[in-house]
Every structure is written in structure tokens, then in C-alpha cells.
């Protein structure tokens, strides 16, 4: 951890100096282009994130490491382009050690790219094509490192369900072992099980697809068809061929009575099993017969220095040989700016599981999870932010009643 600490110290010293703001303003100017009397405009921007985690193995959620400490740097570049009044394009390129924090070699990915066309020239109707974040819920609008008050995503986007997407469950007893409800996971299964599980929504779900959205006064709508379910993993987002016959349909309807409030209802229906899991479903069935069905509600409130968010996901997984596996996950999150530079956020999340039948008796198909997150943040300048997050999780914590995680994220925005 010496190198990250050194980098962080250097950055802190350099970027809080008065000249830094001018440097970033000049950089922004240099990275902004316009032509054809400003009808064509483009801007490159980005963030450099230095993330560190101190945790109790096994790491919770989508963090993938066997160690107690993890350093996860990330460079993100954004391209935003306006081509006349009706066409907008954007792209997001990331260089990091994996989409989710993990101890892998550095790699570069094009996480998002999309073209948006507004045929009516306004906000009432927009078509979008490409690889982009889901329209479901309200976390996506703030999921960037600079705007998210936390380092780790809320429970519905992070906590792993017991299901595997690579293999259909052979029996209810197996699912309960995968879920850690019953002991007896084989050594081979234990070695790979975390890599095969998935959350309700995998992060912002940057799958390939098409969308239509618009703003009709106080109402907003967005519908999308994506080649990947909400639960699909980052590796699958680029494999369009795999889901070409089974697109996932999602919709969000929003109501904004005034700028303070925004409430929304979302729904999604898609296939959560990967292509190779098709060989393991019962004879006479296809993997497309097993769906992930989602109903979600979200609410946002903001006024002066207070911001509140809440989401509730009701999810049904159709599980081969078992039937319906229901789960409910949600959270409430609040942020307050104490001073222009110092803010704090608190979030409480919970995920509970329904029952399946095993040997004729009802049994919960997953361990309920509660998580409390606390996150103070300090903005040294309009371009440098430091966040800390302390999380206390109860349930499904590798045999412990509680697990703790400490995360920090230093973000340079340019």
C-alpha cells in the first residue's frame, strides 16, 4: 500500500494548490472542440480514481479478492459530442483492474458508447442505440465516482444472490448450499461459487441495446431492449450474440411534480442464464423459459443541502426444477452538505428472500442481508474529492454474523 499512499499524498499536495484550478480549466478548454459554427461540439473529460479497501475475507458483494486489502485504481475517459441540435453521442472508456474491484491485471474497456437522436428536436422523444446504462431505477443517474456519495453500490446492485448464471440448479438442496443456507458446499464449488453468483442488477448494467425516452412535462418515460438481463455480468454485456434471441425489456415511468421530487416505477423482464447454462436446464425446456422479472420503485428528493434517495426492488427468478425464487431488496440513502466542501452520507439497505419448497417444507432460499453504510466526503477543489466509506453488513458474511469493510476513494476529475 506504500505506492498508493505516496500517489495520493502527491495528488493532494499538487491539486489543492491555487494553480491547479487554472490548470484544469485550461485542460478543459484544450479538450473541448467545436466546428461548423459550434453546431458540432465535442468534449473529452474523465476521472482518475484511486480506491482502497480493507475488508474481512471473503469480500462482500461484487468485490473480488481473497486478500484483506485491495488497491483498485481506475482511469475513466468520457467523450460527449453534440452533432447539431438533434444528435448526441457519448462514450466511456475505462482502464482498471476489472469492472468491479478485483486483484487482476490492468485492462482497458469501452464500457459505454451510444448515439442519441431526438427526431422532434426537443426532449419529448429520444432514440438511443449502443451500449449504455439501464433506464431502471435512480442509482444510475449518480453512479459515477464524482456524484455517488458512496464508494460501494447499494445492495440491489452489489449483493450477490445465491443463483449461478452458468448452470441451472440441479436440485433445491444444491441451491440452499449455493445460498449458504445449508452447509456442505463442495471444495470445488466453494472455489468458484462467488464468480458465478450475481446481484439483482449488476452495477449500472451497461448492456448493448436500444432505448426510447422522453420528457413530457412532469412525466418521464424510458423503455429499452437490451441484450442482457439486469443481472447479467459485465463479461456478458459485450456478447450480444448470446442474447440476440432473448432481449431483455425494461421500462421506467417517472413523475416529477417539481424539481424537488422525482418518483419512478420500473419493470424489467429478461433471461438471466448464460448461453452455456442452456445445456443444464431440464429436458424440454430452454434457458429462455427461466426469467428474471423485476418491479422497482424509486424516489428522489432534494432541497438545499439535503438529498434523499430510496429504491425498492421486488424480483422473481424463475428457477429450473424449483419454481419461483422471490427476493426483495431496497435501501434509503441521505446526503447532507455540512459546508461547501464537507458532506456526509448514510445509507441503510436490506435484502430478504422468499421461500421455496424443499422436501415439502418451505425454506428461505437465501440469507437475508442488512447493511449500514456511512460515508464522509471532502472536496478539496472542484477537481479533487476524497470519500471514505465504512460498511457494516449483517448476514451472508462467510460464516460470520457481521462483516465490516472500509473503503476510500480519491477522485481527480478533469
Amino acid at each position: 500500500m506504500k505506492t498508493p499512499r505516496l500517489i495520493a499524498s502527491l495528488l493532494l499536495g499538487a491539486l489543492t494548490a491555487g494553480a491547479a484550478e487554472e490548470f484544469f480549466d485550461r485542460l478543459e478548454e484544450a479538450l473541448t472542440f467545436s466546428a461548423a459554427e459550434t453546431r458540432i461540439r465535442a468534449r473529452l473529460s474523465g476521472t482518475l480514481d484511486l480506491e482502497g479497501y480493507v475488508l474481512q475475507p471473503p469480500a462482500p458483494g461484487v468485490i473480488d479478492t481473497k486478500a484483506q486489502r485491495l488497491f483498485s485504481p481506475r482511469l475513466t475517459l468520457f467523450l460527449d459530442a453534440q452533432l447539431g441540435p438533434r444528435i448526441y453521442a457519448f462514450a466511456q472508456l475505462r482502464g482498471d483492474r476489472g469492472f468491479d474491484p478485483e486483484a487482476e491485471k490492468a485492462r482497458v474497456r469501452l464500457d459505454e458508447y451510444a448515439l442519441r437522436f431526438a427526431p422532434l428536436g426537443g426532449r419529448s422523444l429520444n432514440f438511443q442505440l449502443g451500449k449504455f446504462a439501464t433506464v431502471v431505477g435512480n442509482w444510475v443517474t449518480r453512479h459515477g465516482a464524482w456524484t455517488d456519495p458512496f464508494v460501494i453500490a447499494p445492495l440491489p446492485y452489489d449483493n450477490l444472490t445465491p443463483l449461478w448464471d452458468t448452470q441451472a440448479v440441479p436440485a433445491s438442496a444444491t441451491l440452499l448450499r449455493w445460498a449458504h443456507v445449508r452447509p456442505g458446499l463442495s471444495a470445488a464449488a466453494a472455489a468458484v461459487e462467488k464468480d458465478r453468483r450475481f446481484p439483482i442488477v449488476w452495477g449500472p448494467s451497461y448492456a448493448i441495446g436500444a432505448a426510447a425516452s422522453g420528457d413530457l412535462g412532469r412525466f418521464r418515460y424510458a423503455v429499452e431492449a437490451k441484450l442482457g438481463s439486469l443481472a447479467s455480468r459485465p463479461d456478458a454485456w459485450s456478447h450480444a450474440r448470446e442474447q440476440i434471441d432473448h432481449p431483455t425489456a425494461s421500462v421506467r415511468l417517472g413523475y416529477r411534480p417539481n424539481p424537488m421530487w422525482d418518483v419512478g416505477v420500473s419493470a424489467s423482464d429478461g433471461v438471466y442464464l448464460r448461453e452455456f447454462a442452456g445445456f443444464t436446464v431440464p429436458a424440454g425446456f430452454r434457458r429462455a423459459d427461466y426469467r428474471q422479472r423485476v418491479i422497482a420503485q424509486d424516489v428522489t428528493f432534494a432541497w438545499r443541502h439535503v438529498q434523499l434517495w430510496a429504491e425498492l426492488y421486488a424480483v422473481r427468478f424463475e428457477i429450473p426444477r424449483i419454481g419461483d425464487g422471490d427476493t426483495l431488496a431496497g435501501y434509503v440513502e441521505a446526503k447532507y452538505k455540512f459546508t461547501p466542501q464537507f458532506s456526509g452520507a448514510v445509507r441503510w439497505g436490506r435484502q430478504i428472500y422468499g421461500h421455496i419448497r424443499e422436501s415439502g417444507a418451505p425454506v428461505r432460499w437465501g440469507n437475508d442481508v442488512s447493511r449500514l453504510d456511512l460515508a464522509p466526503a471532502f472536496r478539496f477543489s472542484p477537481h479533487l474529492q476524497l470519500k471514505l466509506q465504512y460498511s457494516l453488513q449483517r448476514g451472508d458474511s462467510g460464516g460470520r454474523d457481521h462483516s465490516r469493510i472500509l473503503a476510500t476513494q480519491l477522485t481527480v476529475r478533469f
Binding site: 472542440f33 468520457f78 459505454e112 418521464r220 424539481p259 432534494a302 438545499r304 443541502h305 438529498q307
Partner: protein, 214 residues
């Protein structure tokens, strides 16, 4: 001559030194830099653009007479509005002690903040119809950069000055400062945070001085 008008003529002559008609003026021009590229609104996760159009502000300069002048008896109040996802005006010179109001004319939230040493504040998110209009008093000289925490492309500058004698050039760089007091002063032309040009000027009577920068 009508003798009855004599007292009035005497009074007029006595007041002449204080009359604006006798105050000096400076006119001239400033060579302005090239226009900045028009920013792009980040719409990745929200539809925010007004058909992709952004109002643009041509580069201008602030010309002011440096010196220490008394604060005005009545607090000046001026406005920077937020309209169509832009600050207007995007450059505002004010005298120390001025109150600046920030009305929001968009149908969405804005969140103005400044981390500048001359004035550090964060107004938070407020509705377009909120009363009283959120404001700040700028009581320390210096350059204040305004930003919006929600719309990262929004930027404006407030230049807080110790003098009441300032003017913004037009887009061609032409300016005229009038009503100036007699004396020897430094005339400055602020172009951006890196570039300020200056010239010593001697002001006397009702003369109009011509100063061109550079």
C-alpha cells in the same frame, strides 16, 4: 444679462467641480483573446439539453480604475441568472460589499458553489420559484469562480473590486469609463486570470483620455 439670474449662475459655477459634466472619462479598446469553444452538456444519464443549444458568451474584458474608494452608502444589488443551463452574465464585475442574487429561471435544480478563496459558499439546490432569491454578499476583493454542482459545464466569474469605477468591454473590446475623479491612477484591463494589462493615467477635469490595450 438678467441680474436676477446671477445668484443661480454663481451657484452653478461653485458646484461645477462636483458636477459629472466635469468628470474625466477614459475610452479605448482591449485586444481580446479568441472565443472559447462552446461546451457540451453531459446528457449521458439524463435528458437535459434544450435541443442541444447552449448560449455562448463572447470573450470580454473588465476595465477598471485601481484604487481604494469608499464603499457605496447603499448596498448595490445585482443578479446572475441561471437560464437554459447557463449563467448570465457569465462575467460580472462588482464592487466590494455588493449583494449578488442568483435566480433560477430553469425548470430544474441548480446548485451554485464556489471554492474560490475570495468567497467560499454553496447555495444548495433550490426551486425556481423560491423566495427570497438565494444571494451572497461579496465582501472581499478577488476573483470568484461560480460552478454548478449538477451541470458541470456551467461556469461564471465574479470579479470583486475595491473600486466603483469599472466597465465591461463590448465583444469588440471597446470600452468607455466615465464619471472618473481627478488624480493619478492605474487603469487595468483584466482579460482572464492569467492576463491583466495596466497603464498609469492622469485624470484631470473633463478631459477624455484614450487608452488602448495593449
Amino acid at each position: 444679462m438678467n441680474l436676477r439670474s446671477l445668484p443661480f449662475m454663481a451657484l452653478a459655477a461653485a458646484l461645477l467641480p462636483f458636477c459629472p459634466l466635469r468628470a474625466a472619462s477614459i475610452e479605448g479598446s482591449v485586444v481580446l483573446p479568441k472565443a472559447r469553444a462552446t461546451p457540451v452538456v453531459n446528457q449521458r444519464y439524463e435528458i437535459v439539453a434544450k435541443a442541444g443549444v447552449l448560449s455562448t458568451n463572447p470573450p470580454v474584458a473588465i476595465v477598471y480604475l485601481e484604487g481604494s474608494f469608499p464603499r457605496p452608502a447603499k448596498q448595490p444589488v445585482v443578479q446572475i441568472v441561471q437560464k437554459e443551463l447557463a449563467f448570465s452574465p457569465s462575467l460580472l464585475p462588482v464592487q466590494v460589499g455588493t449583494k449578488v442574487e442568483f435566480p433560477n429561471f430553469d425548470d430544474t435544480f441548480h446548485n451554485i458553489f464556489s471554492f474560490s478563496p475570495a468567497k467560499r459558499f454553496d447555495l444548495g439546490r433550490y426551486r425556481p420559484d423560491e423566495k427570497p432569491v438565494p444571494s451572497q454578499v461579496f465582501d472581499e476583493a478577488g476573483l470568484v469562480t461560480l460552478r454548478c454542482d449538477i451541470h458541470e459545464h456551467m461556469r461564471a466569474l465574479i470579479f470583486v473590486l475595491n473600486t466603483p469605477h469599472f466597465v465591461i468591454t463590448d465583444a469588440a473590446g471597446v470600452f468607455r469609463l466615465s464619471g472618473l475623479p481627478d488624480g493619478r491612477y492605474t487603469l487595468k484591463a483584466w482579460i482572464n486570470s492569467k492576463t491583466t494589462m495596466e497603464r498609469v493615467v492622469e485624470l484631470k477635469g473633463a478631459a477624455t483620455l484614450r487608452v488602448d490595450f495593449p
